[in-house]
């Protein structure tokens, strides 16, 4: 009869094993959720860039024509009310111009390669701040994670590789200091991950209810039906620009010597 030496785990150790298992499951979920959040952010930013470049600049141009019309009208009428309307119109035009030509408009199309996804998943697995062993480690992980998020959005695989390398080579990344504190640490980690998951959930909800996300949902569902809504919008706004230009040129003040 084979004999086995069975080491009975103490209640503390049993609890630790259970909690470690729970932590592993949560960590896998966290990786998954962080990746989908990063994808959502990047997709929205890319769509926003495309929208601003294609339609946004036309709105800005339309606003500029409308502001010009209002300014001429104010010159002719000379009333306080007309001047206020003109300055409102100009403010709107400036705002549209800044939005349509700002940073957001430069976002490139987002189509992450499997390699990029894998790299980002690795970063989340190894560097996520909620897996930190201590506060110093945590601060470092925070910084690297923020960089990784930016690199993923830029689709910059090299930067992600560099981040992984940097973390591995740092002495602070050495984990663990004795078994006694293990259970305590695992519990803290679980608590942090649960909190972060809730944060992700609320951020995803906020992102998906944003104007740009709703606009994107509309455009995407129309594309499935064979309609190109962005092209239709472009055509509409261009038509309105043509009308405004015509109105501006036909404006009575244009014929008067200034």
């Amino acid at each position: 009869m084979p004999t086995e030496i069975v080491r009975h785990l103490s209640p503390d150790e049993q609890e630790l094993a259970r909690k470690r298992q729970e932590l592993a499951i949560l960590e896998a979920e966290l990786t998954d959720r962080e990746l989908s959040l990063a994808n959502l952010r990047a997709e929205l930013a890319a769509f926003e860039g495309r929208y601003l470049r294609e339609v946004g600049i036309l709105y800005a141009e339309l606003d500029d024509w409308n502001a010009k019309i209002a300014e001429f009208a104010a010159q002719v009428a000379g009333t306080e009310q007309a001047r206020a309307a003109a300055s409102d119109a100009r403010a709107q035009a400036d705002e549209s111009y800044a939005a349509a030509h700002g940073e957001a408009a430069k976002a490139k199309d987002f189509s992450p390669s499997p390699e990029l996804r894998k790299l980002f998943t690795d970063v989340v697995n190894q560097i996520h701040p909620d897996r930190a062993a201590n506060e110093i480690d945590r601060a470092l992980r925070n910084r690297l994670m923020a960089e990784a998020n930016l690199a993923y959005k830029r689709q910059d695989a090299d930067a992600l590789r560099k981040i992984l390398k940097e973390y591995k080579s740092l002495p602070e990344s050495v984990e663990g200091d004795g078994a006694a504190a293990d259970l305590e640490r695992v519990l803290r980690q679980i608590e942090r991950i649960v909190k972060r998951l809730a944060q992700i959930e609320s951020e995803v909800a906020e992102l998906t209810s944003s104007e740009i996300a709703r606009l994107m949902a509309k455009v995407v569902s129309a594309t499935a039906k064979g309609r190109n809504l962005l092209a239709e919008m472009k055509k509409d706004v261009q038509d309105r620009i043509n009308l405004a230009r015509k109105e501006f040129k036909a404006h009575p003040s244009m014929t008067r010597p200034q």
């Binding site: 549209s96 957001a104 992102l207 104007e211």
Partner: protein, 254 residues
């Protein structure tokens, strides 16, 4: 700032500027409002067309008596009264429905002034429902709306602008055969059957364009290939009349 808040802000550096800055957000909001308006305008257009299509025809007021027609036995005074009442009732209904359809087109136009079909329908209301139909005939307005729809590529409106320049039912624009030919051509290329008839005749007569039977035949053949029965018929007719340019085997095969 607590440690948690710090984590949060560190993890959210890539948040879309649409969510943080007013400008891009308001452009996105504007885009959504734009799409909403477009949809609503489509809905108004659909409703208006439905009303327009369902408006009953009325035999009142009666057509002028044709002096060459075979005389009909006179109606009894009672029957005549009933017919008249019926006709008036139908006419009232028609006016009401067309007026409502016009209102629908106007609402749609308010929301989306760049919808070619809406522009066309509104122009049609202004042009056709002269007096009595709730909308005063306004040719100036009709022509300017047709022109906008035509500029946006609406084939029917392009034909109307062709008609206007040809002074065919319109008086608002000065007669200009070259402009008329230009717009008929644009509409014919898009498959407007009426425009095909007009431009083909212009090519045959050399009116507004250089006389060119082969171009006329090309337009007819294209139209016939699209299933335009009139074009097919005309192609056969012209083949007999003018010969070779219109003779091309496959036009006769359906």
């Amino acid at each position: 700032m607590s440690a948690d808040e710090e984590t949060q802000s560190a993890l959210v550096p890539v948040q879309s500027t649409a969510l943080t800055k007013g400008g891009a957000k308001s452009l996105a909001a504007r885009g959504r409002a734009h799409l909403r308006d477009k949809e609503e305008a489509e809905e108004w257009l659909r409703k208006g067309l439905e009303l327009q299509g369902a408006a009953p025809h009325s035999h009142w007021p009666p057509a002028p008596i044709n002096p060459y027609a075979v005389p009909q036995p006179a109606m009894s005074a009672e029957l005549q009264r009933i017919k008249e009442q019926e006709g008036r009732e139908q006419l009232r209904k028609r006016e009401e429905m067309l007026k409502e359809a016009f209102h629908c087109f106007e609402c749609g136009y308010e929301l989306d002034p760049s919808n070619p079909e809406l522009l066309y329908c509104l122009a049609h209301s202004y042009y056709h429902w002269a007096g009595g139909y709730g909308v005063l005939k306004n040719e100036e307005k009709a022509v300017s709306l047709y022109q906008r729809a035509a500029d946006l590529g609406h084939a029917g409106a392009q034909t109307k602008i062709g008609d206007a320049y040809a002074q065919c039912g319109f008086t608002w624009l000065p007669k200009d055969r070259e402009q008329a030919a230009r717009w008929y051509q644009a509409a014919a290329e898009q498959g407007d059957e009426e425009a095909v008839c007009m431009i083909v005749e212009m090519y045959q007569r050399g009116e507004g364009v250089r006389q060119d039977h082969s171009e006329a035949a090309r337009l007819l053949r294209n139209a016939a290939a699209r299933g335009d029965e009139t074009a097919r018929h005309n192609l056969r007719l012209y083949a007999k009349q003018y010969g070779s340019p219109y003779e091309d085997g496959d036009a006769d095969t359906p």
